[in-house]
Symmetry: C3
Subunit: 439 residues, 3 copies
Amino acid sequence: MLELRSAHTDSPTGVGHEAYELIREIYPLCRSITGEGVRDTLRSVQRRIPLTIVEVPCGTHVFDWTVPPEWNIRDAYIKNRSGERIVDFRQCNLHVMSYSAPVHRTMTLGELKPHLFTIPEHPEWIPYRTSYYQENWGFCLSQKQLSQLTDGEYEVCIDSTFTPSGTLTYGECYLPGATEEEVLVSTHICHPSLCNDNLSGISVAAMLAKTMAQRERRYSYRFLFIPTTIGSITWLATHEDVVHRVKHGLVLTGLGDRGKVTYKKSRRGVAEIDRVMSHVLKHSGQDHVVVDFIPYGYDERQYCSPAFDLPVGVIMRTPHGAYPEYHTSADNLDLIDPQSLAGAYDHCLIAFDVLEQNGVYQNLNPKCEPRLGKRGLYRSIAGQQEKQNRELAILWVLNLSDGTHSLLDIADRSGRSFEEIRQAADALTACGLLKNAGR
Amino acid sequence: MLELRSAHTDSPTGVGHEAYELIREIYPLCRSITGEGVRDTLRSVQRRIPLTIVEVPCGTHVFDWTVPPEWNIRDAYIKNRSGERIVDFRQCNLHVMSYSAPVHRTMTLGELKPHLFTIPEHPEWIPYRTSYYQENWGFCLSQKQLSQLTDGEYEVCIDSTFTPSGTLTYGECYLPGATEEEVLVSTHICHPSLCNDNLSGISVAAMLAKTMAQRERRYSYRFLFIPTTIGSITWLATHEDVVHRVKHGLVLTGLGDRGKVTYKKSRRGVAEIDRVMSHVLKHSGQDHVVVDFIPYGYDERQYCSPAFDLPVGVIMRTPHGAYPEYHTSADNLDLIDPQSLAGAYDHCLIAFDVLEQNGVYQNLNPKCEPRLGKRGLYRSIAGQQEKQNRELAILWVLNLSDGTHSLLDIADRSGRSFEEIRQAADALTACGLLKNAGR
Amino acid sequence: MLELRSAHTDSPTGVGHEAYELIREIYPLCRSITGEGVRDTLRSVQRRIPLTIVEVPCGTHVFDWTVPPEWNIRDAYIKNRSGERIVDFRQCNLHVMSYSAPVHRTMTLGELKPHLFTIPEHPEWIPYRTSYYQENWGFCLSQKQLSQLTDGEYEVCIDSTFTPSGTLTYGECYLPGATEEEVLVSTHICHPSLCNDNLSGISVAAMLAKTMAQRERRYSYRFLFIPTTIGSITWLATHEDVVHRVKHGLVLTGLGDRGKVTYKKSRRGVAEIDRVMSHVLKHSGQDHVVVDFIPYGYDERQYCSPAFDLPVGVIMRTPHGAYPEYHTSADNLDLIDPQSLAGAYDHCLIAFDVLEQNGVYQNLNPKCEPRLGKRGLYRSIAGQQEKQNRELAILWVLNLSDGTHSLLDIADRSGRSFEEIRQAADALTACGLLKNAGR
């Protein structure tokens, strides 16, 4: 059986290296749900794809939420009595809890401790912590650093600002297709120096957008680069009029590690994207997992909220929380590799192929089988087995193209790959035995 | 995950002992489908719960059946030539086949033998036999007793009476609720000195009625204590106008032995009671079995007959016929224990809790997730895992409360216990994010 | 539980021998999709059952096809320089590729070779090849024969004729029943000296027709003996007005080998014939397989084409292609045996019994159970287990005969055999508790 391969995939390994380079470029930036780090990140993406950078004023009401003040940070440290920066934001932006309020004073270790976060079971790693919606400040450091702190006074400084007149920034790459019906691809951009979560999603989304921009498209494609939760809520709240156009969607996250691919179904569970991704992974010949929707995870939580219930699933490798490096400084450039990124890119692109090409066809000779031999579609001497696979695909398409089965239905029922079935449909259409009956 | 426990279960072991004491009290009585033994039994129950004792005249036509003459028995024996009572009703009421016609004469062992029943494979045990609708008489005795009978003549006496002007007696405890919609609980009362079948059912039903009488009830509850088959037929025939109110039902039987709990589904198979009992048992943390309906067993045969097709299942421990003591003198006070009775009581009460509390809710903020943090329903610092279970239950309720999913649907889809989901729904309702959308 | 046996099966072994004798008689004939071999075969069948032999003019347009010229062959050989027939049609009709064009000339081994077919992995066997719709000629021979051919010249002769004014021949045995609704039984007749594929199908079909001709029939039965593909297409094209009468159908093929029985479902997958055959095989007590429809195989390809979508399945033993002797000279009289033929016959006949007797019944006493005891349908002394199976079947029929369940539905849901359920329905009908509610 033909393995599913994207006809247009040009050297997936090349794509993997390109994606990895983007990650390496934006890894040092201090991103959060707002601020300059996000803007710098989007500018890097914009150098690769036609990206619109959108600014939404802080204080904007978006459903039950309000866009928070823009947060920026210049510097942060803890200095010991000798004036040494023993915890230094310049060395690693994870050292500061995201959205920390400004602070600058001297305090005892006892006063400081409630603001310190570590991972005792991984004494070398720095954790990642945020406090977006409750004012607070904190430092994240390794357990090893913490254990070296002696009693005494420390100079504590977080040079951050909240700007109520600022904006929330997100990026959108909209590629119009033959119809207004959309494929939505969403990835979050709010994590600082963490590679798998979420730079892998940003880079694979950028590579997909770059490829799709060069193709003829039946569907329109919308790639969203947004801060998680508040970003998708903001986009949904400001685009209620176009939400209904989203016919299929994928949230991209955690695609760079070396684990097998996981597809998490949309809330609907039987949406076309759910069937397509299950089909693509099944026929990829690679180990994978398909899991049911749960209302926890990434921005699918918003896309799949009950009033929208969009057919949006999630593609990832090892699920968040299921690898020890998750939300720690160990989610770094070593955790990910170009091959993993390229594999994820490939699965998505093949899924787009299936979405683009899927359709319902009508057998124009539905009474008994047509004569395939005279049309060059059948062995002339019965008993030869060589062309049997192709013939079987043709027979399946003829048998089930009664106006109710899509090509994907036929592929799934026959157990053959979509690619085989589509090729059969093309051959039958070319010789006038089949016609597209619409979607 | 929270185990399902009834909020109102006061010391289930105490309930088990109370149930066991009731069984000990009524164990000696000679019950049949009619007669004084039934009345005495119901009077014992009546001392514990508000029970109406109903008398239905013999000869009453009930669908295809006629209430048979009332049967009573004073004494019965087989005497040998020395005048010794070698089989004696006063020692064990199982010795007489239930509904035996009166007989008093001397006969040879050869004449007597067709009227003697034993269990050869359990030579110490006395079997239980009945002949309600075909006039006959007989003695049940142990194989050991039978083997000691020598040829010769015996005085055979059964001092029983059939009273065509008598009545059939059953008990009913009706607890009105906020609606006329009913939960029916039915148990049979026609077996003589047999503990598991059926005194366990009587006692657990009595304990449930006692508890439910003290609660606020959305549903009305009807507890029926009836002779098997003719009793349920009589009740159905005389209550055709209220049968439609029965929305859920359970037949209680064989709940005292030490086997795992078995739930037998209603004829419908997907009734709410079927889903509730499956859920309750699954989340009980205890070994159990759920089996499909078959039209054989206890009074569910009548409740689930095609013209009624009531959603009535059966809760039992080891199914009838599947334990060797079934319908023998070994189904005695040693076969059952208070813990088993209490466990069965607990499962039923939790099922009632679920029925009472189940409902469909509407998410009042269905566009994206609401801000849970400002309502105290979410961790303020992301990355802490402690409260995640509660949050997940809340997210499930929000996500699926679209007016089509009941709390039980949400519990089953999420794999979480009904109790967790209900608590989440309560918390969301309390802060105005959810409202009850009716049943 | 009762095994399913046909009440009317007279000595299935006798039938097996009779079927085997028919095969032995027609084995030597050189059949193809047209020609004298087919006519001779049908005449043999006609001596056993009331068969109409139908001739359809060559050139007739049947949907996308045209009936091809009639092909006949008198002789064929390859002679070496000594004039010896080293490949001789008279010895085995498989030696000539079916529908070979006439040829008579001398050629080198090099010229001859593209027209020679062997089976290298079975050097003693002769393959079976056809080229119906592309003019060609060829010889099939054993690898051993081929290896003995030395370079040099050979006299090659195929004394065949194409007759455009001829006919395509098929046989039809139509047995009218109480209704015009039909059971279609189809078997192909176009293979030369091959026993399992397809003489076994011809012989079992003939035996079934012989038996059914002697029975009272609710359904009409139509047995078709047709050349594969062009035959079923021709029949469908010339009977479009009666096709809708076909309510159930079976294609018979490969029934004589010693493998287990395989039932291949119709395209619908849940047609009554699919359920009946699955039931019959399950309750046969014999190893068997039920497989899903695929649009490849025998004439079910045409019957199940989308515009017809007839409920026609396939009964066979080892599927075509799954035994090495398939389409070789080793598919001979040794490959098959009378017991296998008789077993297949029996399964079909029992399936016809089920189809004939299946129906929906109405419980006339649907409120509670009726009193079975007074009607002789229930044990008088409870506790005896002997008659319990019969009683259970009776209770199932009463419980599910609500006007929506057929006897087959009841048999499948209860896990009991159709025969048990039908007997229970008969007993209940006899005493007025049940009535046939139509189909």
